[in-house]
Symmetry: C3
Subunit: 310 residues, 3 copies
């Protein structure tokens, strides 16, 4: 029996249920324990074709590293918006041709719905590596995997999501993913960066959450502190930015207030939301999270490319 | 006995006779039917080094995909003109060093003769991926292969080449290639974009053709309609461009006038010369053509790199 | 017993003694004679991650070619300074994450000490591919290997280093490397481009050398002529540049004055320091040197990645 991901597109985390996550997590657990010799056979002779209309070096390298770790090759366009190939060519044609050149297509695009459209056109399975304002399914997969791996469970946890909740697509994908579990979610942000009101209905259908502006007051309760970058450009008034910034930064003071077995996550890159002093604390899991990003993507590619899974 | 392409340069389609085309076509037919396991052994451990002095994402990715499909690796410079390596370095030195780093060199360069010169300097076989105004041999190979594959023959066909015949090197390479076959060629273009008069002598030595400005009137006769982009920049007078443009575009109206078994080809990327409505018609072969581009290049690389062919 | 390079960083040529050089040279000799089939097993399934904060197409391609020749894959950032990944991210974080994605990290950075710092942060062995003003250890390795291979010995040779001795980090790394051997070194440069006075103490501890401005007068004595580029930008007064330039250029006249078995080396790319007329002379070894660059880097990677060496 073929695995459920074989030759399937990964467009939205909203298409995922608990079982789908579990399939990927088990494949990840297995891939981590495989010898390099076994692993490099999984994708040998296979080609990943990437199209990044929005540059994202981190996500691109994570996919390339994942593909290389299973023995495959990556080709593509790191900055498709300015590429000569794009001079007037439609998104559909660009995706279609890349799908003729490769075994799986990875797309990053700024527009909502781009990925769904591209999946229709593509001759090969398409993975959404970030689209529009809300969708970044492989980031959600790695985030949930990190929680499960480091906390040994997901149900019952108190999860705080901190910082810029308005603009980060990572946050939305994570919320949709958490909707599959019984978690207590606190959204902690300055008022100007609260979650978008046009998304709350959709999120509330899946998940109960509370909103607050105060990180310090909430931190001792949390099992998972998921922190994101607050970007200066988001503020009309620079003084507002300066005032707000410090309150959503974690340093050694705040860590002392955290539970002993709580974990700190961050999609990276970080600026100064997390003091480097914390890197050596046992709560710091953001680098581990990046590592899991490579592993979960390798597992997902393995499932998509191989009928019998791994 | 070693195959005739082993360790040979591919500089000009004018060096090709019917037999050479046939060797590549048979290798392509074979490579298409090979299992991934067999295919990836052909180029394993081999490195393709590319130097693109003119950016061409499409051609570069086609070569990379071809090399990956036979198990090899590609390295190179996608924009050699602006690369730091080029700060004052001669073309000869750049090619020479790339040839020390790789097993086969792929060069794209804006100057006529660049490829012939580079082949002299290179320590490894060199493939011309487009040079000057007339040469793009691997494009001609894939074009002829597409006709042969989709029409089951080449001799006896009526081939219309449509659009900008003055500036596209694709057109010239295709004409030189067609010179090896008994075909009836019609060149269909606005007067300002007729084939260059300084090339007609050379082409006429190989091939009889007629010229016309009217696509609609000719289309019902043709077995192959090869359409190319008409670029705005080519016209001094923008009104002239607007007037002309519509006449060399294929939509559903024109397709109805075509023979039932005629095929539409395009080197891609297309702008609006071909309506997307046509993509699902049985005449549309331009995406298939792109796919054959990868396959013929894989076969060519296999023949160049392996003494015993494939 | 594991080889001394297994999982070790390569930060500075000053950490090298004669024995270390010899280990790499023997591995290089061996890798050159291996069949492609054997070679491509050495690094199969392994990933090299490169971070070039200073663009250097030549060095990057040499590493990629080396990694490909042993069957491995390279991923990375060719222009890390302008990469989106770098928007405010610290060098430490960038290196750390790349080290989670790969098996060995290759770093090029403009700052002195960057490489030592990065090696501390990296989870995987780190190779310095050029840092600050003085360090380029893999260039020194290939330079010394070229001398040993082409002259059959290093001790007892007269080595002239010619051109811009002030700004080229290649020169400093070579001098530190030569400090392990009994060589007679002549530094030949215009007064404005003499070796930096703040480095002479460190160099003199390791090596005796004489300084001169006259290439022609010295050339007949030398066994090795190592010539470097003189860059216009280094001169405040352009007339000074024009005056000086011609004196440190080697043409057929000067070659006639050289010993019959002397060799000419150059780190490349060259501008007009060496006339192309010389390329076919038996003294010209600069292209051979580039080839050895790939081979020595392949050997180094093999030693770092494989406990039992090669």
């Amino acid at each position: 029996m073929s695995n459920t991901f074989f030759q399937k597109d990964i467009v939205s985390v909203r298409d995922f249920d608990k079982q789908k996550f579990e399939t990927i997590f088990q494949a990840t657990d297995k891939i981590i324990t495989m010898s390099p010799n076994e692993r490099r056979e999984i994708g040998r002779g296979k080609t990943l074709g990437y199209l990044f209309f929005e540059p994202s070096t981190r996500t691109r390298l994570s996919f390339e590293a994942a593909m290389a770790s299973i023995g495959g090759t990556s080709i593509g366009i790191a900055d498709a918006s300015s590429s000569s190939a794009r001079k007037g060519e439609s998104l559909g044609d660009t995706v279609k041709i890349m799908s003729l050149y490769s075994d799986v297509v990875v797309l990053r695009h700024q527009l909502d719905g781009s990925s769904r459209f591209a999946a229709e056109v593509s001759e090969k399975p398409l993975i959404n590596a970030g689209s529009g304002t809300e969708e970044h399914p492989t980031q959600a997969i790695l985030d949930i995997y990190t929680i499960r791996k480091e906390k040994k469970r997901i149900d019952g946890l108190k999860v705080g999501i901190v910082g810029d909740l308005k603009y980060g697509r990572t946050v939305y994908s994570l919320l949709y993913a958490l909707g599959n579990y019984k978690v207590d979610v606190r959204l902690i942000s300055p008022p100007a960066l609260k979650i978008r009101s046009d998304s709350t209905y959709e999120i509330r259908k899946r998940l109960a959450y509370t909103e607050t502006t105060d990180l310090e007051e909430n931190i001792s309760d949390l099992d998972v502190v998921y922190i994101t970058r607050i970007q200066k450009e988001r503020f009309a008034d620079i003084e507002e930015y300066v005032k707000v910034k410090g309150s959503y930064r974690i340093g050694t003071d705040l860590v002392k207030k955290m539970k002993d077995d709580a974990i700190i996550m961050h999609p990276l890159p970080r600026l100064d939301e997390i003091s480097p002093d914390l890197d050596s604390t046992k709560q710091a899991k953001y680098f581990q999270q990046a590592q899991y990003g490579k592993d979960t993507r390798a597992a997902l590619l393995a499932l998509i490319l191989n009928e019998n899974g791994i």
